[in-house]
């Protein structure tokens, strides 16, 4: 019941985000300078920000940016980690340790600095998330390699070998069901982390840059908590973020439980 509700909610958020160019009442960057900081209601359902931009439209576009790209980046990290584990030498060889100790923030600074200045903003956003995805492989890879090591030592692995089953079949049929739930768990952990990471990159001006909205830079409005009293609508992105995280959790946990207790 809850799972279905959560799923429907996520689908709703996803589709409305993807359809934002169609359903958003205004462009995310259109400035109604005479109606800056308008309260919710009337022409602007959630009011406007300090530049007179429609908060609802910005929220919809921001959702397309954050709620779609962050999970995509998380999926990329998990995928890369799985690929890396296909070459166990790499992982065991300490590459993960090196990668985990690199201060990745510098990579984002370099990316921003080295990108041609007239790069389309949407491309630089995509690259930012792609880099986040690539940079994040080492964490899950370490988890995977730990669980693979555990599997290597397991009784069932030995049993499978003693039955003469080829290595790749063991990986695919025996190990994958275990890795899959680890991968799902990693994805579940990383997706919200990336949403928040984009937000903090935004605080450094390295995430999604003005005028494009993201949950991260919409949340920057909350830095001045007394603004909330003026227009509670600025809490909308926070609310949406929390609901999405809860929904992801609900969907994932239920799926997981089902798998174990059939």
């Amino acid at each position: 019941m809850w799972k279905r509700l959560a799923l429907i909610f996520l689908l709703l958020v996803g589709t409305s985000a993807l359809l934002s160019p169609v359903i958003a009442p205004f462009s995310y960057s259109e400035q109604f300078r005479d109606s800056a900081n308008a309260p919710p209601g009337g022409k602007f359902l959630l009011g406007t920000d300090d530049m007179g931009r429609d908060r609802l439209s910005r929220l919809l576009y921001a959702t397309a940016v954050s709620a779609v790209l962050a999970p995509a980046a998380a999926a990329l990290s998990v995928l890369l980690a799985l690929l890396a584990c296909a070459f166990p030498g790499l992982v065991v060889g300490g590459l993960t340790t090196i990668c985990l100790s690199i201060p990745w923030i510098f990579l984002f600074i370099i990316l921003r600095a080295e990108l041609p200045l007239n790069t389309d903003p949407s491309i630089s956003v995509l690259l930012t998330f792609a880099l986040m995805g690539v940079a994040g492989w080492a964490g899950p890879a370490r988890v995977f390699s730990g669980s693979i090591r555990e599997m290597m030592e397991s009784g069932w692995m030995l049993q499978a070998r003693s039955a003469g089953i080829a290595g790749w079949r063991i990986g695919l049929v025996y190990a994958w069901p275990h890795l899959r739930s680890v991968a799902l768990a990693q994805f579940r952990v990383l997706a919200p982390v990336y949403i928040l990471a984009e937000a903090s990159l935004g605080l450094l001006g390295l995430g999604v840059a003005e005028p494009m909205p993201s949950w991260g830079n919409l949340l920057r409005d909350l830095q001045h908590p007394d603004m909330v009293r003026q227009n509670p609508a600025i809490l909308a992105p926070l609310l949406l973020l929390m609901l999405c995280l809860l929904a992801i959790e609900a969907v994932a946990v239920k799926t997981h439980e089902k798998e174990v207790f059939r």
Binding site: M152, E153, S154, G155, W156, M157, L158, Q159, A160, R161, S162, A163, G164, I165, A166, R169, V173, Y174, P177, H178, E259, R262
Partner: protein, 257 residues
């Protein structure tokens, strides 16, 4: 005994610097049931793995010679060894809780074990037949179960079914009954005896429990501190044990009041 020789081996095995088997040698004839009895830590499981050249997966190294049906296994490539495992040597590990992948269905386990050595599909009814031989139901509901959902007894039977799927000439059973209650234990032992009788499969039965193997083994080898200290038919081992360790073992057995 003038049966045809199936297996002869001489093995030294160690984990790092710790030597576990010191030139243990032995033979097994076709259709023979030999029991290898020793205390825990005497190298029994090492022996089971070393014979299949699986010891490296437990961090060990085995040297020596293993001749199975005239082939020197020590000279085989990894690929060559893979063909031997499961097809010519079946292995029944201990504790089904660990040895069965809990997330894989019974059907898949059977299919994968089949596919390891056969390109053609399993004939319909084959799986049911094999399961029937180990007294497991072959119905769809059972085949759809995950291995994690089986009882220990069922799991042990399934392990046996997987080991005999390709009709190997040698079955290595490592403490196959230690995890079972007394009644199931007896049933599984009977199963091994039946298999031996019906298919002529030779069985190397590894156990710490002299009494439980006495009933089915044609010969008993006593393993102590990495070597076989005494070998002979059960009657001799029980009747006139020679080695002090064997004697101690026999005396420690529970007697009928």
């Amino acid at each position: 005994m003038s049966r045809e020789s199936l297996l002869s081996y001489t093995l030294t095995a160690r984990y790092g610097d710790a030597v576990v088997l010191r030139g243990v040698s032995g033979t097994l004839a076709r259709g023979e049931i030999a029991a290898l009895v020793g205390l825990s830590g005497s190298g029994k499981s090492t022996m089971a793995l070393a014979l299949q050249r699986l010891l490296q997966y437990r961090g060990g190294v085995a040297e020596g010679s293993i001749v199975l049906e005239g082939t020197e296994l020590m000279g085989l490539s990894g690929r060559g060894m893979r063909v031997v495992r499961g097809r010519r040597i079946g292995y029944v590990p201990q504790s089904p809780g660990l040895a069965l992948n809990p997330k894989v269905r019974v059907r898949t386990l059977l299919q994968e074990t089949w596919r390891a050595h056969e390109d053609r599909r399993m004939e319909p009814g084959f799986a049911e037949n094999v399961l029937g031989r180990v007294q497991l139901p072959g119905d769809r509901e059972f085949l759809d179960r995950h291995a994690g959902e089986l009882s220990t007894g069922q799991g042990q039977r399934l392990l046996i079914a997987l080991a005999i799927l390709h009709g190997p000439s040698l079955l290595i059973a490592d403490e196959p009954t230690s995890a079972l209650d007394a009644i199931t234990q007896a049933a599984v032992l009977r199963l091994f005896a039946d298999l031996n009788r019906e298919s002529g499969t030779a069985i190397l039965f590894i156990s710490h429990d002299l009494l439980s193997v006495a009933g089915i083994a044609h010969r008993v080898d006593i393993l102590h501190e990495g070597t076989v200290v005494e070998s002979g038919p059960p009657t001799k081992i029980f009747g006139e044990p020679e080695h002090p360790f064997t004697r101690a073992l026999v005396e420690a057995m529970p007697r009928r009041p």
